[in-house]
């Protein structure tokens, strides 16, 4: 006598059961005399019969009201030969027939195996990251002012960033606690802090690129691309640590969120941009001459290139 496992997917209830049978012949239907009772109103009292045959099963429709749809053939059939893993749909219920030897995917790991991330989630490194974050933002604030500010004042600004990072990590830890029953706060904290630490050099790089090319477009696109990619990666990691969703879904969700944020920023920029601006706006970033600049253009060439500013664009209706 062979063993057969039938996976029942109740589509309208979004759950599935496993039924294990030690029999060669199994009757399926809504009636109580069946071996497998399906409480689906679209299933007939005696709907199908499953009969073991060789390595698989012959499934036969018992003149049911709605027939039997065989997934691998993509049509309604009276009789079909199924192997382990094949599916039929009766009424609105999907049945998957599996033999006990059917292979399964290897288990997903609960604990992080990546050595780098593992180290990162140790308290010393996580808090070390936060401290580095604090120092970097304090330095950035200091470089941005021309006044010699008191240490407290600089510290307060950097503390603001640190608190923000901790709140973000805390939220994800809460999500992790709910879904995985495991908060992993330090891990969330470490990667969030790393994200904010990386933002500073990326911002500088895009500013330098924009400055050397004299183009707001280059600077802006570079900044958006770097920030966007990095933010997506942060979300993917946050989700990986806090939830069980698959890798594909994680990437999709993260990119979607990043995309939506960019769309909102772009839309609000255009919505708030007034059609008439009385003042000139140009890309005004200036950077210290760590590399000496020797422009190839003299005044005549500059004015020649600049002739485009005198061209009158047709007014938009």
């Amino acid at each position: 006598m062979g063993k057969i496992i039938i996976e029942v997917f109740h589509t309208h209830r979004n759950r599935h059961d496993h039924k294990v049978f030690e029999a060669d012949k199994i009757s399926v239907g809504r009636g109580y005399q069946n071996d497998l009772i399906i409480p689906d109103p679209h299933v007939s009292a005696e709907h199908i019969q499953i009969q073991a045959s060789g390595y698989g099963w012959v499934v036969e429709d018992l003149d049911s009201e709605n027939g039997m749809f065989v997934k691998k053939y993509g049509k309604v059939l009276k009789k079909a030969y199924l192997e382990s893993g094949d599916e039929v749909v009766i009424g609105k219920t999907r049945l998957r027939l599996v033999s006990p030897l059917h292979p399964v995917e290897p288990a997903e790991r609960l604990i992080i195996t990546n050595r780098f991330f593992k180290k990162l989630s140790q308290p010393v490194y996580a808090w070390g990251m936060v401290f580095m974050l604090f120092l970097l933002y304090a330095l950035d604030y200091h470089l941005g002012t021309s006044e010699n500010l008191a240490v407290e004042k600089i510290a307060v600004t950097a503390v603001g960033v640190v608190v923000g990072v901790m709140v973000w990590a805390g939220l994800w830890a809460f999500v992790g606690r709910l879904i995985k029953h495991k908060a992993q706060f330090l891990f969330q904290l470490a990667i969030t802090a790393m994200y904010f630490i990386l933002l500073l050099p990326l911002d500088t790089i895009s500013n330098y690129l924009g400055y050397y090319t004299s183009s707001a477009v280059v600077g802006g696109i570079c900044l958006a691309a770097l920030f966007g990619t990095l933010f997506s990666i942060l979300l993917i990691l946050n989700l990986k640590i806090a939830t069980n969703i698959s890798r594909r879904k994680r990437i999709m969700v993260s990119n979607l969120i990043t995309g939506v944020i960019f769309a909102i920023i772009t839309l609000s920029y255009f919505a708030n941009k007034s059609e008439f601006n009385p003042n000139p706006v140009f890309y005004s970033v200036l950077k210290p001459p760590f590399i000496k600049i020797s422009p190839r253009r003299d005044v005549d060439q500059f004015l020649k290139d600049g002739q485009k500013v005198f061209e009158i664009k047709p007014a938009k209706k």
């Binding site: 200091h142 470089l143 941005g144 002012t145 021309s146 006044e147 010699n148 400055y211 004299s214 183009s215 707001a216 059609e275 008439f276 601006n277 009385p278 003042n279 000139p280 706006v281 140009f282 890309y283 005004s284 970033v285 200036l286 950077k287 210290p288 001459p289 760590f290 000496k292 600049i293 020797s294 422009p295 253009r297 003299d298 005044v299 005549d300 060439q301 500059f302 004015l303 290139d305 600049g306 485009k308 500013v309 005198f310 061209e311 009158i312 664009k313 007014a315």
Partner: protein
């Protein structure tokens, strides 16, 4: 930076407020005599909104020929010129009689207009042929604030020397509504037309010679009245600009040291430079700025003025700031150019800019050239050139050139010449 803004404010305010508050000048028997003899030639000019049949602007005017030609200011009539379908121009005579006026021609640069009444009255004023000397008593007539015809006694203080568009300095108090009224000598002859005030007995008159020229132009084309005012005004602006730009570009320019750079100072006597510097103990940088501009602005409409040229220098030096901190500060100075309040959406397009590195006097600069066109006068632009030297770690010169209502060719020539004058090194 705040100080610069305040000073610019002062310059603007001095340059062309159209109204002011002054003390009433003393009235002598002579004023009484002139008023009685000539009040019949002076009119109130009203711009009437056709939709409401109410006046929206008032000014004064005077008849100067027996044929019913009246003179007034362009700025009194500007609404009627730009929207003739919405406004009408009326006169009100001393005895309350009103009638319509036809606009014949304008001189937008000197703010004059000649209009004609279909039913001329017998009284008129004639032009003075003699030159007055400083200190001569003169009399200005007009209808201030719609309060009724008045006479103001003041002093002739000669022609303003530092002005692109010559004006008579009149020490008396002109008030809104008196614009376009006549200024008379003691024989009752017209020496000028009331035009504007800077407050406190500082007022300006348009010399009568410009009215004479405009009248000759009117007589030159009696059968072909102006139909395209925008084109006509544009031509006047360009002609005027060509005249003074030719002089400006062919003269030798005054040199001014700013930090380590020699730049142009008061190019012609029409430019006035103001300067200041700051060296505070607690600050980690010094700056010195110089701000030069012409004080003349041409009125085009209530929302649109033009004709001014401004240039500014700002020498910033570090007192111990590291290069990164210094350039953050420097960038903040560079980021905010001149604010443009001379035109609104109906008058001008948005600025388009071109930004690049450029070599001037063997130094590397970041430069941005911006321009916007005038919608009614498409050959004219407002331009802005903002530049910052970028090869010194602890000091730099920022400069800015602003020219309002300039043609493309003249803008390029002016900028070219301006940059040629820059010499790095003491």
């Amino acid at each position: 930076m705040r100080k610069i803004v305040v000073l610019i404010g002062v310059v603007f305010w001095l340059g062309g407020a159209w109204e002011g508050n002054g003390r009433a000048a003393q009235i002598t028997d002579e004023a009484q005599r002139i008023y009685q003899q000539h009040q019949k030639s002076v009119y109130q000019i009203q711009v009437v909104d056709l939709a409401t049949e109410k006046k929206t602007a008032i000014g004064s005017g005077f008849q100067f020929t027996p044929a019913g030609y009246l003179a007034t200011n362009y700025h009194v009539l500007s609404q009627a010129i730009h929207s003739p379908e919405r406004f009408r121009v009326d006169y009100v005579r001393y005895d309350g009689v009103t009638g319509p006026l036809t606009i014949l021609d304008v001189d937008v640069v000197h703010d004059l207009a000649v209009v004609q009444s279909k039913a001329p009255y017998e009284a008129y004023l004639s032009f003075s042929e003699t030159e007055l000397s400083k200190g001569t008593r003169i009399f200005s007539l007009g209808n201030p604030l719609d309060l009724g015809m008045t006479i103001i006694e003041g002093t002739y203080n000669g022609l303003m020397e530092k002005s692109l568009y010559r004006k008579i300095l009149f020490s008396g108090s002109l008030n809104p509504g008196m614009s376009g009224g006549p200024a008379l000598d003691h024989d009752g002859r017209v020496i000028g037309v009331n035009v504007s005030t800077a407050g406190n007995q500082v007022s300006f008159l348009v010399p009568v010679e410009y009215l004479r020229k405009l009248y000759e132009a009117v007589r030159g084309h009696p059968s072909a009245p102006v139909t395209d005012w925008n084109k006509h005004i544009e031509e006047q602006l360009i002609e005027n600009q060509n005249n003074y730009m030719d002089i400006l570009l062919s003269s030798s320019w005054d040199v001014l040291p700013v930090g380590e750079v020699r730049v142009s100072g008061e190019i012609m006597n029409v430019f006035k430079c103001w300067g200041s510097s700051e060296d505070k103990k607690e600050e980690l940088y010094n700056y010195a700025y110089i701000n030069c501009s012409t004080e003349d602005r041409i009125f085009l409409s209530d929302s649109h003025e033009t004709g001014q040229i401004i240039y500014k220098y700002n020498w910033v030096t570090s007192k111990g700031l590291n290069p990164m901190r210094f350039y953050n500060l420097y960038e903040n100075y560079f980021r905010y150019p001149q604010t443009y309040e001379n035109a609104e959406e109906d008058d001008a397009g948005n600025f388009e800019c071109h930004t690049d590195f450029v070599t001037v006097s063997q130094e590397a600069w970041k430069a941005s050239l911006c321009a916007r066109h005038y919608k009614k006068y498409p050959k004219l632009y407002d331009i802005n050139l903002s530049m910052a030297s970028v090869n010194k770690k602890d000091r730099g010169l920022l400069l800015e050139v602003v020219a309002l209502g300039i043609s493309r060719e003249k803008a390029e020539n002016f900028v070219k010449r301006f940059l040629k004058e820059i010499q790095w090194g003491k």
